[in-house]
Every structure is written in C-alpha cells, then in structure tokens.
C-alpha cells in the first residue's frame, strides 16, 4: 500500500511532469501517412474544465489529431500532453485520464451492453470489485437502462452512440475526446446526444470534433478550426460571436468543399 502510494507520488510529480493550467497541450503536432500530411504543425490548448469544439471540413485532420491525443498512434513530430503527461512518454498515464469515443463506436456487436461495459471497465483498469458500480453509473448517466440486456448489434444507431459514450466514461476520465458524436443520427437523437454531452461537459474537459456549427455554439466555450491539416482559428466562442457569427468565421478561414458543409450546418 505504502509502496503504491509512493509510486503514485513519483509518477504524478516526478519524471518531468509538466504542470500547466491547460489540461490538453498540443504543440507543433504533425502527422504524415507516407507522403500525405494529415496534420501540419497543429498547436492548441484546452483549459481544465473547458469544452473545445474542433471544427473543420471532412479530411481536415480532425480524426488524426484526436487519434494522436488519445495515444492510438504516435505523431510524426511534435508533442501532446494531457494534465502534464506526455502522450508518448507516459502513454498509460494519459490513457487513464482520457475517455475516447471514435467516429464509429467501438462496440463488440455480439456482446450484451452490460457485459460489454464490464469488459471495457476491466480493460480500462477499473478494479474488479468496482466494475458493477462503474457500469451501473454509466448506464444511468447515458440513459441505457432499457437496453442494458440487449446485444450491442441489435441497438439503433442512437443507442450505439450512447453505449459508445458510456464506454468512454466508464473509468471516470477527466478528459473526453469525442469524434463526431452526432454524425448519422436522426434529429431527435442528435438533440438527445447533445444534451447528454452538455451535461457531461460541466465537470470534464471535452474535445468535440464536428462539422456542424450550431453544435459547437451549444456545447463549447472554445473553438479550434482546422483546415487542410493546419489550425486556422483558435479562439473563445464569445470572442467570435462578439465580432460576428461562428459561421462567418468558419467560412472566412475554410475553403474547398465549404458550401456543402455550410448546408449541413444549417440542417
């Protein structure tokens, strides 16, 4: 017990942990797949407790950046730190602090919702005795009571997204990374999920990628716009709305298949 505590102490405060005010620090992150640069010199930071909207057209590099932050894949250059821990050096410390919902919820379709969530809890390092408690907590938090005994493969898209969120919350992380959580849902489901995320964002640091602008206006305090792998805007939402609308700001900086995206934003 004593040893564990000391180790924790050494981990938390030793080994070059860089304590800053911001929860997530992305510095000059670049990622290349062969010759293709998905992200170039991306830098931004998210303060503790803040909800950050990560905007950009399809293929701008949002998913790539998020995958690097979560430790799914290493960056070509640059660094990311979460609560002072470097994603590459202290990958496990970072992973313990992050809940991640990828673009497609990572469900094992042949599992029941409860056993799936228990499995993820075990995988995320929740102590065995506390797994049922953690599972019931996220089931309540994400409104999954009615489907908890169903197979993941039999759930509607909206419920799959909720199970995906529940899975990201199971180890009670301080940071939530959500990759397009409302994509492909019907309007009622979108409203549902947004409300859920807004509730979750009150006590957590959230990074939310989307190309639906009103979503950001509803949930986030901060906006990062990325286009062709580069950060073009990093501002507080109030700062943007004071000067004009978020849409104008977006259109000003993003070129390419913008009209389609703007339409999607209106929808």
């Amino acid at each position: 017990m004593w040893l564990q505590k000391t180790q924790f102490f050494v981990r938390a405060f030793g080994r070059g942990r860089n304590l800053t005010a911001s929860m997530i620090e992305v510095r000059n992150l670049s990622k290349a797949y062969g010759g293709f640069h998905a992200a170039r010199n991306v830098s931004f930071s998210v303060a503790t407790g803040q909800a950050c909207g990560f905007l950009g057209p399809n293929g701008a590099g949002k998913t790539t950046t998020m995958r690097v932050i979560t430790g799914y894949m290493p960056a070509t250059s640059g660094s990311v730190s979460v609560e002072g821990f470097d994603v590459f050096e202290d990958s496990f410390e970072v992973r313990r602090r992050i809940g991640y919902l990828p673009e497609t919820p990572p469900l094992y379709l042949e599992m029941r919702v409860t056993s799936y969530l228990s499995h993820v809890a075990a995988l995320r390092g929740v102590p065995r005795s506390r797994i049922p408690e953690a599972r019931d907590r996220v089931i309540a938090e994400c409104g999954l009571e009615q489907v908890s005994t169903r197979l993941c493969g039999h759930l509607s898209k909206g419920y799959r997204q909720r199970v995906g969120l529940a899975q990201a919350l199971i180890h009670d992380p301080a940071v939530l990374i959500l990759d397009e959580p409302t994509i492909g849902l019907d309007p009622a489901q979108i409203i549902d999920i947004r409300q859920l995320i807004r509730r979750l964002a009150t006590e957590r640091t959230v990074v939310l990628s989307t190309h639906i602008l009103p979503e950001v206006a509803q949930i986030c305090q901060k906006v990062v716009i990325i286009s062709a792998g580069r950060v073009v805007v990093e501002k507080d939402l109030t700062e943007i709305t004071r000067a004009g609308s978020l849409e104008d700001e977006y259109l000003k900086h993003v070129s390419g298949d913008v009209p389609a995206d703007a339409e999607a934003a209106d929808a």
Partner: protein, 256 residues
C-alpha cells in the same frame, strides 16, 4: 497479467456466443470420427486377413501404427485448414469494426494483447484436441495400445495446434481483411508442412535446415513415440517467433 485474461476471456466468449465454435467443433469431430471409424475398420479387416496366415510376422499390425499414427497425421492436416479460419478474426475483425481503437487507447501493453489473443486461441484448440482424446479412450477401453505412444502423439498434435494458432494470429495482425488473413496463414502453414520435400535431393546442410524447419518431420518423430527436447524446442520456438512477429506487426501498423 490481468489484462491478458480480460482480452482472452472476451475472445473466448465471442467464439462461443456465435455459431463459430459449434460449427468448427462439430465439423472437426465429424471428420475425426470418420477417420477413426475407417482406420479402425481397416485395421479389423487386416487382422482378420492376416490372422489366417500361419507363421507370418504380424507385429507391425498394431493399434498404434495402424490407427493412432494415421489418425493424428490426418487430424494435423484438418487443423491446418481449420485453425486459419479460427484465427482469421483475431486482429482483422477488430481492425475493421473499429474496436481496435478501443484496445489501443486502453492502458494495455501490446504484449498483453498478443498473449491474450493467443491464450484465447490456445484454449479453443485445447478443447478441440481434448475432445479427440475420446478416440484414445476407446482404444484403451477395447484394445491395448501403448500408452507412451498415445501420450507423445497427442502431445505432438497439441503442440502443432498451438503453433498454428500463433501463425494464424500473425497473419490476422497483418490485415483488416479476414479472408486475406485466412489465406495468408493457410499458405504459411502449408509451406511449413511441405518445406522438407526437396530435402532428399539437397546438400547436407540444406537438407538439415529444411528438415529442421518442417512441422511434419518434428511431428512424425513425436507420433513414433519419441519425445525429444529438439522437437519440443522446435514447437516452442515456432510459437514464440510468430508471437513476436505478431507483436511487431501490431506495433508497426500503428506507426504507419
């Protein structure tokens, strides 16, 4: 260590909640039963035929050589085909459905994933090989085969199956397409099976190398009842090498 079991347990459950486990077990046992039935029938006919001949040496006609040895040989070929179909999902499916992202953003080491997935496959082939022990039981009940030969033969079959699992996992870690994974592991396994074919006409060194690499050569030694450390080391190293390659394949995919 806990993570290894968490991953293994999920994979095992996935096989048993789907029809895969039952289809594979039924098919495998059906084929094994067919082999056993026919080998035994043939053995009976031979005994009836030769027992009429006075003064003819019939020591070569025994259960071990006439039934167990060919049965195990046949089973190792069936496993060669079945195991790739079992292991093709292990990594490829997770990659294509996106659960890979869950696995690799969890605080779990790549080594633990590799071991967990191998353990799951190992459990399943333990069940498969374990069920074929029924035939050994039948022979022991009604006849008198040599026990030592049975033990070393079935141990050989089990080791063969374990190394097949490692090879299959490796092939699955290379791709997100399950069919490619199955074909790749089938090809690797078949090559290991027949690699000593040119040994007869080759030079001394080449011959030794080819024979050492061959699964068949090591397995047939064990079927003949010889448990040599050389063969045990061969199967252990084959398994370990392919698990190591799996680890490398998984790691390198993340860096691309």
């Amino acid at each position: 260590m806990r993570n290894v079991f968490v991953i293994a347990w999920r994979d095992i459950r996935a096989v048993f909640v789907s029809p895969i486990a039952y289809v594979v077990l039924t098919g495998f046992l059906l084929l094994a039963g067919w082999f056993f039935f026919n080998l035994l029938g043939q053995f009976n006919r031979m005994v009836a035929m030769y027992s009429g001949l006075q003064g003819y040496d019939t020591t070569w006609l025994n259960l071990n050589d006439a039934v167990v040895a060919p049965l195990l040989q046949n089973l190792s070929v069936v496993l060669l085909i079945v195991v790739p179909m079992l292991t093709m999902r292990s990594y490829a499916e997770e990659r294509s459905t996106g659960t890979y992202e869950l696995l690799f953003t969890s605080p779990v080491r790549v080594g633990e994933i590799v071991l967990g997935k191998f353990l799951a496959g190992a459990c399943f082939v333990s069940l498969m090989v374990g069920l074929t022990l029924v035939y050994a039981g039948i022979l022991l009940w009604f006849g008198n085969p040599e026990i030592g030969l049975l033990v070393s033969g079935f141990l050989g079959l089990y080791l063969v199956a374990l190394s097949y699992i490692a090879v299959g996992n490796f092939a699955s870690a290379l791709t997100s397409n399950q069919i490619i994974a199955a074909v790749t592991s089938l090809v690797i396994l078949l090559l290991l099976f027949v690699i000593s074919w040119p040994a007869d006409g080759a030079s001394e060194t080449t011959k030794a190398v080819l024979q050492y690499l061959s699964v068949t050569d090591h397995f047939s030694t064990m079927i003949r009842g010889i448990v040599d450390t050389k063969d045990l080391v061969y199967f252990a190293s084959l398994t370990v090498v392919f698990l190591f390659l799996t680890h490398r394949a998984v790691e390198s995919a993340r860096w691309k």
